[in-house]
Amino acid sequence: MITETQASTALIAAKDLTFAYAEEPVLRDIFLNFQAGEFTGVIGPNGSGKSTLLKLIGGILPSPSETVFFKNRELSRYKKKELAVSIAWIPQDKQMAFSFKVIDIVLMGRHPYLSPLSFEGEDDYRIAQEAMKQTQVLEFAHRSFNEISGGEKQRVMIASAISQKPEVMLLDEPTSALDIKYQIEILSILKQLNEQENKSLILAMHDLHLASKFCKRLVLLKEGRVFCEGPPAEVLKKEILEEVYEVKVKIFQDDEDGSLLVVPERS
C-alpha cells in the first residue's frame, strides 16, 4: 500500500490508474511511484501494457483524471510545452515518411523552447551538437534519418530527447531489433545519463538479462496489473517468472556483475 508521504516525494506517481483503448482495460489498478534519478525497467509479456503505461506517464495518451501525477501535479494541469521540458518519450517505431536530416530530428527536441515562427538559434544548435556528441551521431548530422541503421536511429532519437533537456526520459523498447553490440551501446549511453546527469529513466524492455544488468529497479506487469516490483534480484525469480510468462525457466547469474540470465527450460 502506498502512503501519502511516499506519494508526495515521488517524481512521477500513478494512483489507481485503469486505462482502456476500447472496452477491455489494458491497465488495471496501477499504483506506482518513480523517484528522481531512478533507472527503472518495465518488463512483462507481450500485451501486458508496458508501452501503454509509458505513454500514459508521458502524457502521450490522455489518462483518466486524478490518476497520473508529475511532482504532485496532475499531468493534464501542465501546459503541453511545460510537460515537454520535463518528460521526453522515445517511440519504438521510427519509420519516417519524409527524409529529414539527422540534425533536423535532433533540433526537433528544441521545439518546446521556441516560440512560433522562430528559427533555432545558436544556443539550440550548441545544445543539439552536444547531444549528438554524447550519443556519437555527430558525424552523420547531415545524413538522411531514413538511411541510417536501426542502432544509429535509436541514438539520434536519444540525442533529440537529450536536447529537450528533460528530467525524465521514457523509452519504449530502446534495444529491440538491435544486435548485442548496439544494445550495449544504447544502454551504456542511458546509464551515463542516469549516473552523471541524474536523469530519471523508465524503459519498457523485453530482454530480461539486459534489464537486470542495467536497471536498478524492475516493474513486472502481467495482463495490465503490476505483478511485482523491486530490485532485479527480487523480481527475476524462478517462481515469479514461471507464473507470469507461463513457461519453465532456469536462471543463471553472471559472477562478474551479478546480472541474471533467464533461459527457458527444455520441455
Binding site: L83, L107, M108, F119
Partner: protein, 345 residues
C-alpha cells in the same frame, strides 16, 4: 572525415532556400503576359492609356492576360500549399486536396449554389465561394470521420481510398444536379466545371486574395508544429506540440483556401500533389521552407501550365485543368509505385 558544418537555420538559409522560387515566380509573372497567340508590342502597351479602342496591346496585356495570370498564381499557390500541409499532416506524399476528395467536395458545394440560383453576396463574399468552402470542409469531416480509428489516427491507405470514393460520389452528385438543372443553369455549371482561369477580372482576383493569404499565413504560423507532426504524431506530442489544435488549423485553413480558389477556378487537379513533391525533393521536408517554396513554385507552375494551354493549339484553348491532369495522372501512378516499393502503402 568530412568537416562538419552546423550552420544555423538563419535568415540566410531561409533566403537561400526560398530565393530561387521567388525569382522563378517573378520571372514567370513578367514573362507569361508577353506570351500568347497574339504577339503584342510591350512598348506600345505600356506607353498609352488603358483606352481599349486606341491601344489594343494594352488591352490584351492588362485586361485579358494579366488578371488571368494573377488568378493562376493565387490558385496554384493555394492548392500547392494545401497539398504540402495535407501531406505533412498525414505523413504521406499521396495526400492532396484532389486525392482526399476536398476539391470535388468544393465542386459539389459550388454546383449546388449555382443550381439554387444563389447569386447574392454575404459581406462581400459570393455564395458560390461560401458553398465551395462548406463543401470542402464538409468533405474533410466526412472522410476523416469515416476513417478515424479509436486511437485517433488515420490509416493513410484507407484515407486515400475514402478520398477517391468521395471523389466519385461527389462527381455523380454533380452529374445528377446537372441533369436536373434547366438550360441556363446547365450552361453555367458546364462552364464552371471545365475549370479554368480564362473568365476573370481584377475584382475576382482581389476578392479571393485576402482569404488565400490569410490561410497560407495561418498555416505558416504552425509550420514548425507541422514539421514535428510529419515526423510522427506521438513524438510531436511528447515535444509539446498541440497536435489536435494543429490538425484543426491545418485542415480548416487548407479547406478554406482550397474552397476559395476552387469556387473561382473550378476543379483543377493534381497541382497540390505535384508541386509540394518537387519542392520537397529540391529543398527538403521542412515546412518552414516548404510552405513558402510551394507557394511560389505552385503559382509559377499553374501560370506556366495555363500559358501552354492557351498557346499550344491557338486560337483554341485547352483548359488548364486538362493540362495539370495530363501531367498529374502519370505522376500519381509513379508516386504510388515508388511508395509501394518502399512498403508505405
Amino acid at each position: 572525415m568530412n568537416k562538419l558544418n552546423l550552420t544555423t537555420m538563419s535568415s540566410r538559409k531561409f533566403t537561400l532556400g526560398i530565393g530561387p522560387f521567388l525569382l522563378l515566380f517573378l520571372a514567370t509573372l513578367v514573362l507569361a503576359p508577353l506570351i500568347g497567340p497574339t504577339s503584342i508590342d510591350i512598348g506600345k502597351a505600356l506607353s498609352g492609356g488603358l483606352d481599349a479602342a486606341n491601344n489594343v496591346d494594352a488591352d490584351i496585356l492588362f485586361l485579358a492576360r494579366l488578371p488571368r495570370i494573377l488568378l493562376g498564381a493565387v490558385t496554384g499557390a493555394a492548392l500547392s500549399v494545401t497539398g504540402a500541409v495535407f501531406q505533412a499532416l498525414l505523413r504521406n506524399d499521396l495526400a492532396a486536396p484532389f486525392t482526399l476528395g476536398v476539391s470535388s467536395g468544393a465542386s459539389l458545394g459550388a454546383v449546388i449554389a449555382i443550381s439554387l440560383n444563389l447569386n447574392f453576396t454575404i459581406l462581400g463574399i459570393s455564395t458560390l465561394s461560401i458553398a465551395a468552402f462548406a463543401g470542402a470542409l464538409g468533405t474533410m469531416y466526412l472522410v476523416f470521420g469515416l476513417v478515424k480509428t479509436r486511437h485517433g489516427d488515420f490509416p493513410t491507405s484507407v484515407l486515400l481510398l475514402a478520398g477517391v470514393t468521395a471523389n466519385f460520389f461527389f462527381a455523380s452528385m454533380v452529374m445528377f444536379i446537372h441533369y436536373m438543372a434547366d438550360f441556363t443553369q446547365s450552361f453555367r455549371i458546364v462552364r464552371w466545371l471545365m475549370g479554368g482561369l480564362d473568365i476573370t477580372d481584377y475584382q475576382t482576383v482581389w476578392s479571393i486574395f485576402p482569404f488565400v493569404i490569410l490561410g497560407i499565413g495561418g498555416l505558416f504560423f504552425v509550420s514548425r508544429d507541422l514539421n514535428l507532426i510529419s515526423a510522427g504524431v506521438q513524438s510531436a506530442m511528447s515535444r509539446g506540440v498541440d497536435v489536435v489544435r494543429t490538425q484543426k488549423i491545418g485542415f480548416i485553413m487548407g479547406s478554406l483556401i482550397t474552397g476559395t480558389v476552387v469556387a473561382i477556378s473550378g476543379p483543377i487537379g493534381f497541382v497540390g500533389l505535384i508541386v509540394p513533391h518537387i519542392v520537397r525533393l529540391l529543398i527538403g521536408p521542412d515546412l518552414r521552407l516548404l510552405i513558402p517554396g510551394s507557394m511560389f513554385f505552385g503559382a509559377s507552375f499553374l501560370i506556366l501550365c495555363d500559358t501552354v494551354g492557351r498557346t499550344l493549339i491557338a486560337p483554341a484553348e485547352i483548359p488548364v485543368g486538362v493540362i495539370t491532369a495530363m501531367l498529374g495522372g502519370p505522376f500519381f501512378v509513379w508516386l504510388l509505385k515508388r511508395q509501394h516499393k518502399r512498403g508505405n502503402v
